[in-house]
């Protein structure tokens, strides 16, 4: 057992640098944020005082919070469904051997590989043309039509969701393609021999085998949607026509300087993230399937 003790100490020693780094860049800021959420830290007042759960109480009592939460959840559900469907379709196409594969791969990969800041401006101009042309008339009419049918803010929602799917779909495709390539081809050969239709193959073979990758894609999409700030911010020109939790927290903290409240808003995502992780881990790695 003496040997074991030395090994354990060595193991901790080897982990130490990584631990220090994690504590410095993750644990400390998070702890600071948790503390701040219990204070009235703000640019509007001197000093900061412990206010207990006041920030959380204010947040939960704010109809805007519930609105933002609902929008965030719908945004997540809509974009994730679309990205998974689109990404899986593209990945399955790319997995087939073809002479044009390299070209298609490039086309699929570009939206994701291109700098986000640039593409988002392109989308912004496409949806809100900076110059008056006949196109801007079309864009304007479209916006008006969508907003008047689905309610104000719908156009913003649609455009942000479209951008997210366009950009995230290609990432999901690349991601799932890697997953497909990691699955032994014999499993698909066997499916070709035994299944009666492409749908059976997808449902009984491809999707179950891709499950770990799909779960990770859902989780990435989840965190992306909930923390989404940059895309929403830039596409809506910094106006809160489209409140997701991430944007509103940014608005509160950076624009209005109410750090305490902003911290509470950000942290409201933690229970949801934890729940999502739990569900996804259960889904793609059930305890019963672990090696006996």
């Amino acid at each position: 057992m003496k040997r074991g003790g030395a090994d354990t100490r060595l193991a901790y020693g080897l982990m130490a640098p990584a631990l220090v780094l994690i504590i410095a860049v993750m644990a400390y800021p998070v702890a600071w944020e948790v503390w701040t959420s219990f204070t009235n830290f703000s640019v509007r007042s001197e000093g900061r005082a412990f206010v207990g759960l006041a920030n959380y109480r204010a947040m939960l009592g704010d109809p805007l919070f519930w609105w933002a939460l609902a929008v965030t959840i719908v945004y997540f559900l809509v974009t994730t469904t679309a990205k998974l469907a689109l990404g899986l379709g593209m990945a399955l196409l790319l997995a087939r051997p073809s002479r044009l594969r390299a070209l298609v791969f490039l086309a699929v990969f570009l939206p994701w590989a291109y700098p986000g800041g640039v593409t988002v401006v392109a989308w912004y101009w496409m949806l809100n043309p900076p110059l008056i042309t006949s196109y801007s008339l079309v864009a304007g009419t479209l916006k008006h039509a969508v907003d008047s049918t689905l309610g104000p803010g719908a156009w913003a929602f649609v455009s942000v969701a479209l951008f997210n799917v366009w950009r995230g779909g290609s990432f999901t495709a690349v991601f799932l393609l890697a997953g497909l390539n990691a699955i032994p081809t014999e499993l698909f050969d066997y499916a070709a021999l035994e299944t009666r239709s492409a749908w059976q193959r997808l449902r009984h073979v491809t999707v179950p085998l891709l499950r770990p990758f799909l779960a990770l894609a859902v989780f990435l999409s989840f965190t992306g949607a909930f923390a989404d700030l940059a895309n929403v911010w830039m596409l809506t020109g910094g106006r809160i026509v489209f409140p997701v939790i991430g944007t509103y927290a940014y608005w509160l903290g950076i624009r209005q300087g109410q750090f305490g409240e902003a911290a509470a808003w950000s942290l409201s995502l933690v229970p949801l993230l934890a729940l999502a992780l739990l569900v996804l881990f259960r889904w793609f790695d059930p305890p019963a399937e672990r090696p006996a």
Partner: protein
């Protein structure tokens, strides 16, 4: 159950001509083995039969149907893969039932067939497990069971035993043979292991570079290889080869090389006379070389020095150098022989079992 017919079958990839003019008639209920070194086209041939590879040219018939344009699912075949191809997300039962479920068989019949196959293979206890909780041998059984439940016209096996350890491989080999005797379903089996080929096949197809070299019953291939490749590929330890020069002195045809001077038996002498003065490849199997006794005529013996002794228990392998030459010959001798390294001994060959091959075409003479 069905016969399988391949006519002028070809497979070309961009650069590689993988299968060349394969013509093969596999009889109903036959167990046929395709064997050859890697890259010989055996697996490609099997995959074309399964429908997993497109046919470049030629025809494949299963039963009385031309299947060239039939998708794999409609060919009524069941395949066992090298890596078993079990679905990790399904239990053994679900894996075995998969093909039948997809084909919408009634639940009771699926259950019956899976239970029967599981009993046949001795895996009833494993039905509720997931593949990753099984050993290699157990997975292999599940993969075979999954093929059996389908009651297909033809079984296809793609190197199914090559991931098992040596002992298990021998055991599964026997089981597969018993299984085939019992089910009597036509089977096409691909392997690179000539021992598997010889022990399992009713007939064996030896392939190399996309060509069929020889088709025949195991012992026929062993005794009468049509060319040097088949002669060297079938049999373990492999056939001994030496380059010899053919001489004809007064009607006595001899094959000579440094340290070796053998009188060619009359049966072969006629054909070999045409090679007079030329070099040909001479081959003799290790068991056809024995310690010379007084009864061996002088023209069939040669002197040798023992270089390595490999006592295997039931027999001893002697690696010897013939006379002063660099030619090494392996002799398979009785376990009672007491030869040591560096011993000088006299060996004799069995005249009925000498092989000669054309130096250019490598065809048997």
């Amino acid at each position: 159950m069905a016969q399988v017919l391949m006519k002028d079958l070809n497979k070309k990839y961009d650069e590689v001509h993988a299968v060349k003019d394969v013509n093969l008639h596999i009889r109903d209920k036959e167990f046929i083995v395709l064997v050859g070194p890697s890259g010989c086209g055996k697996t490609t041939t099997l995959r074309m039969l399964a429908g997993l590879e497109e046919i470049t040219a030629g025809e494949i018939h299963i039963g009385d149907r031309l299947v060239n344009d039939l998708p794999p699912k409609d060919r009524d075949i069941a395949m066992v893969f090298q890596n078993y191809a079990l679905y990790p997300h399904m239990t053994v039962y679900d894996n075995m039932a998969f093909g039948l479920k997809m084909r919408k068989f009634p639940r009771a019949e699926i259950e019956q067939r899976v239970r029967d196959a599981a009993q046949l293979l001795g895996i009833q206890e494993l039905l509720k497990r997931k593949p990753r909780q099984l050993s290699g041998g157990q997975r292999q059984r599940v993969a075979v069971g999954r093929a059996i439940v389908r009651h297909p016209q033809v079984f296809l096996f793609d190197e199914p035993l090559s991931n098992l350890d040596a002992k298990l491989r021998v055991q599964m080999r026997v089981e597969l043979k018993k299984l085939h005797n019992r089910l009597e379903t036509t089977a096409v089996y691909v392997t690179h292991d000539q021992v598997e080929a010889m022990t399992l096949g009713d007939r064996v197809v030896v392939m190399k570079d996309g060509w069929i070299q020889q088709v025949g019953e195991p012992l026929e291939l062993y005794a009468h290889p049509v060319n040097k490749f088949v002669a060297g590929f079938i049999g373990s330890p492999a056939m001994n080869f030496a380059d010899v020069t053919i001489n004809d002195t007064g009607g006595v045809v001899t094959a000579e090389s440094q340290g070796l001077r053998l009188q060619v038996p009359p049966a072969k002498a006629g054909a070999l006379r045409a090679y007079k003065g030329q070099s040909v490849a001479f081959g003799v199997r290790p068991e056809d070389v024995h310690i010379a006794t007084g009864a061996d005529p002088a023209g069939l013996t040669f002197d040798a020095v023992v270089e390595v002794v490999e006592p295997l228990g039931s027999e001893i392998l002697l690696d010897v150098r013939a006379g002063s030459s660099t030619t090494t010959i392996v002799a398979r001798v009785e376990p009672t022989v007491r030869s040591k390294v560096k011993d000088s001994i006299k060996l004799a060959v069995n005249p009925e079992r000498l092989h000669f091959f054309d130096p250019k075409t490598e065809q048997a003479i």
